[in-house]
Assembly symmetry: C2
Homo-oligomer: 366 residues x 2
């Protein structure tokens, strides 16, 4: 194999597939990038068996071939080469010469035969949306996913397609994040549970363009995202017994407030300064007339601050884990948000009038 690529093109390709390189594994092949130039194009692939990414890399193939190379070493070497053409040459399948200007590296490589290629995905159930929309959907829900939760269902996000509607749900034991989105056409009905970790990595690769599309293909075991010159395949989580979130959501409320999002976020941010790690102190919200007072009291000291609100319904005193509120306020784009309360022991709802987003948060009951 002999390839000539620009340093910058190599780096682009490495950065994309790097997201699927195993960092903790005893199988050294999972720490490799597959460089495949057997079919007239240069493709980089990485696959940690949960998530697999393949992307095309610009360059010239002087001699076809394929090898697997340690991702970290390859990445570090390319990054430190001069900004010029890089020649990658393999003669005996055990060593690669990487040459750029006067600099010559000779690195141990592995045979491409040992590498796990991406699984073939049947392209039947499909939706199309913009990279922007997908990136936003992930950003606005992913914070409720706990990758380390023992309950597998809580480590994923539900992607549910119902005709021309897409609903994304993520939840943990104290809160639910839901995003509803209208699709351009009717795609049928199907749902899958995608590992949060995979979504996190995909979100980093998406350029986020409004005019750039992503095709998403659903099968019973895998989900495939296709965009730009890149394919991302993730395993799915079994979801037949997923929660019926419709039953958890109510439209009744006793108090509704409209509040400046940034003011509330900054205020909670300040309050959390008084909480030392491991200490579980709630913030108290006191809604009265046209103000919400936010207060906290810890062994470091106390803080209180008033924020003007527009109120509907009765007065309310309720307390929350400040992190849960701030996580939500951080991902919302609107200047003002509506928060609905029923009573101090019932969850509050943060949602817009169209239900394009719905967040449910359990209060701290003292």
């Amino acid at each position: 194999m002999k390839l000539v690529c620009k340093k910058s093109d190599l780096i682009t390709g490495i950065n994309i597939v790097m997201k699927a390189v195993s960092s903790k594994t005893t199988m050294s092949i999972l720490e490799c990038i597959l460089i495949d130039a057997t079919e007239g194009v240069i493709k980089f692939t990485a696959n940690d068996m949960e998530l697999g990414i393949e992307t095309k890399v610009e360059g010239e193939i002087i001699e076809a071939g394929s090898i697997a190379i340690d991702a970290k070493i390859f990445s570090e070497i390319v990054r430190k080469l001069p900004d010029n053409d890089v020649v990658i040459e393999v003669n005996d399948e055990t060593k690669a010469n990487i040459t750029c200007e006067n600099s010559k590296f000779n690195i141990l490589v592995k045979s491409a035969d040992d590498f796990s290629y991406l699984p073939e995905i049947e392209k039947k159930d499909k939706i199309t949306l913009s990279q922007f929309a997908l990136k936003e959907l992930i950003r606005q829900t992913i914070f409720t996913v706990n990758d380390a939760d023992k309950n597998k269902i809580l480590t994923g996000e539900l992607f549910e397609v119902m005709g021309n509607r897409l609903k994304v749900v993520a939840l943990d034991k104290f809160r639910i994040a839901i995003r509803n989105m209208e699709l351009k056409e009717d795609y049928g009905n199907f749902k899958v549970l995608v590992p949060g970790k995979s979504l996190n990595e995909i979100s980093k690769i998406l350029n986020g363009g409004v005019d750039d599309e992503v095709n998403i293909y659903f099968t019973s075991n895998h989900i495939l995202f296709e965009f730009d010159e890149t394919k991302v395949v993730s395993r799915l989580i079994e979801c037949s017994n997923y929660f019926d979130t419709d039953k958890m959501i109510s439209n009744d409320y006793k108090t509704k407030i409209t509040i400046n999002k940034k003011e509330m976020a900054n205020c909670i941010d300040r309050a959390t300064l008084l909480i030392k790690e491991g200490d579980k102190k709630p913030v108290f919200l006191t809604i009265k007339d046209t103000e919400m007072e936010l207060s906290i009291n810890t062994f470091i000291g106390s803080m209180d601050e008033s924020i003007p609100i527009v109120r509907e319904g009765s007065d309310m005193m309720i307390s929350f884990n400040p992190k849960f509120l701030i996580d939500i306020l951080r991902v919302l784009d609107s200047e003002e948000v509506n928060i609905y309360f029923t009573n101090p022991k019932a969850p509050c709802f943060i949602r817009d009038d169209e239900n394009s987003y719905i967040y449910v948060v359990l209060p701290v009951v003292q």
Copy 2:
């Protein structure tokens, strides 16, 4: 005590004195900033007993007084306040009210009486140099200092004043860094050994201006740096038995090369990619004709690269710990550097013609 200060002025002051706040201590007073407004100006002081910093802060004193406040909490609160006037008020010496716009904090504080003020320094032996010069002196030598070395002498830098000359020396077991500088006037003869840790912190506070001066006062136990509105006092290390570095330096050589500094640094930087942590592989320099070949061979792979040089004297093969060379090349400002070699077992010298800098590095002898 009651003060009104701009948030930005508070942050400037906190950032300066923060460098002398103890991070690991069982004495909570050492984690505090002293706010002293008893003498018509607002002064912040921190003192970890090795290094003490005092700086003036702009602001209005409505009621004189002084308190000690936990530096980390104070710093975090001020940073997160709105960008406006901040009122700091203490009524009973145990709690401070910090108010900004609608936000009110109430924080536990300590009595100023428990705080260790900076020692009084006799202002006799003194030199003056620009902030730029001091910052450069430190940057170009500090990397040879090992704060954790059991041999106390190796944890400091020698500042030696000889008439109108300042010589700064730092060394470890394998290398020496020397900077010589001409002073504006004749200041007498004295030398002290300043802890590298203190110099590191001072260097971060110096604005580095060519026209801004630093006055440095030397006593037998302390060194005082005065600049802008700030005083920094550091304890000294006993230096009566410091090395006689003049004896370690020779002007003889068999080979002299002149090489592009950046090319050599980048090349060594690439070579070090092949060294895994804990592995002690040298780089081999082969000086022949008008080229220096740099090569390395580890269990990851090998690299070699040629760099054009101007050579005087005989051919040479010698090997070095790559880190030692790169540390030096990184701090030098000239485009080209001269390196002098005697034989593969003798130290090499990197120095300019005026001896304004001299670096000595021991080779790796195989």
